[in-house]
């Protein structure tokens, strides 16, 4: 399975990076004001927001190739959490769009979001 590309430094993310943990719970509210809550999924899912800047053209091209090889949000890949080093074997890109901006020579920026898939 493909892996998310790392930068020349070996890192996959730069500051600021955001990791979100999301549960999916449901609540049934009754006429008397009480409520009953239950889990709608077995475990939380993670989501990483990666913003990259000061990339060189080679790093940018690698991310673009990765996006196209995955067909945007369709494909899945292995992602190593930059916060704790844990490996998540089934992740996808969240969006079907990848914005790329070459601001100057060896100074490109992009941003993308990786989401963990439920098996």
């Amino acid at each position: 399975m493909a892996s998310f590309p790392s930068l020349k430094t070996g890192a996959v993310a730069q500051y600021p990076a955001t990791r979100r943990i999301r549960y999916q719970n449901q609540a049934l509210r009754f006429v008397d004001g009480t409520e009953q809550r239950y889990r709608d999924c077995e475990a939380p899912l993670l989501r990483w927001e990666i913003r990259l800047s000061q990339l060189d053209e080679g790093e940018m091209a690698a991310l673009e190739e990765f996006f196209m090889a995955n067909q945007g949000a369709f494909g899945s890949f292995t992602f190593t959490d930059p916060f704790d080093g844990a490996t998540y074997p089934d992740c996808s890109l969240e969006a079907d769009a990848l914005p790329l901006a070459a601001v100057a020579e060896m100074s490109s920026t992009t941003s993308l979001t990786v989401v963990e898939n439920r098996n």
């Binding site: 999916q24 709608d40 999924c41 077995e42 899912l45 060189d56 053209e57 080679g58 940018m60 091209a61 690698a62 673009e64 190739e65 996006f67 196209m68 090889a69 067909q71 945007g72 949000a73 369709f74 494909g75 996808s92 079907d96 769009a97 990848l98 914005p99 790329l100 901006a101 070459a102 601001v103 100057a104 020579e105 060896m106 898939n117 439920r118 098996n119």
Partner: protein
């Protein structure tokens, strides 16, 4: 062949260059967090936003003439990605997009100058020179730069090729980047890029790259290539602002859609 104009410098664009890749995935999300996905490969869209400043009268005139020729969004044209490697499968020299001479042997997995093992060993087992080339449906009138990293077991000379142009380059036992700038031939509608290896020589190569500009930039590994036939302007209006004598600026939006 309608083609997007190069600037007087030989460059196709100026910084900043904004590009967006867009795909289409149909996702059926289930209540428990799982999802069923369906890809739509034909829906890939690529857009560029090119901002120009300090254009000369001639360059601004060429832009206006091009805009008139394509009649805004009406007609398609060939666009070469200024932020990409024009060659397809630059790291896979045995792919069908590459034409190799019958006596040229290819072996992958050699050490490359970036610290990996993505270089290819080209061995000419014949009695005459052998070539490895890729032909692109790109305008011959453009200025191109073809570059590749090369090293050899023994010092030798290879020939870089752009269209009918040839340039001999010495290759030593250490990695060096060969860069050859030239045009593809007046009026030609396809251009061939590649290397010619002399008889009996063994050369390791890595990172072949073709760019629509005069100099080589950092190597970008590519699979899709950077020639977009039937690209379109996004807008029916072109605004050119004159900021002084012989100084103009404008912004151009270009779109390429696979299924059109």
């Amino acid at each position: 062949m309608l083609v997007y104009p190069q600037l007087g410098t030989g460059a196709l664009s100026q910084f900043p260059i904004r590009k967006e890749r867009r795909t289409r995935t149909v996702i059926n999300a289930t209540a428990d967090g799982r999802s069923i996905k369906l890809a739509d490969p034909n829906a890939v869209t690529t857009t560029w936003q090119l901002e120009y400043a300090e254009l000369t009268d001639t360059e601004a005139g060429a832009m206006e003439a091009f805009f008139a020729a394509v009649e805004g969004t009406l007609n398609g044209f060939t666009f070469l990605d200024p932020a990409g490697n024009l060659l397809a499968w630059s790291g896979q020299l045995d792919d069908a997009v590459w034409a190799t001479g019958p006596m040229l042997r290819l072996a992958s997995g050699e050490a490359d100058p970036a610290g990996g093992t993505l270089a290819w060993r080209l061995t000419n087992t014949g009695a005459g020179p052998q070539t490895i080339t890729q032909t692109l449906a790109s305008p011959g009138d453009y200025v191109y730069c073809f570059s590749v990293y090369a090293c050899a077991q023994e010092n030798t000379t290879v020939t870089a090729l752009i269209g009918n142009g040839r340039m001999a380059q010495s290759v030593t036992t250490g990695w060096n980047r060969i860069a050859f700038t030239g045009t593809g031939g007046a009026g030609a509608e396809s251009v061939q890029f590649g290397l010619e290896i002399p008889a009996g020589a063994t050369v390791d190569v890595y990172g072949p790259q073709a760019e629509p500009q005069e100099g080589a930039s950092i190597y970008r590994a590519s699979t899709l290539g950077g020639v977009y036939a039937d690209a379109r302007l996004r807008d029916d209006e072109l605004a050119i602002t004159s900021t002084g004598v012989n100084r103009h600026s404008c912004t151009v939006n270009i779109i390429h859609v696979n299924h059109l």
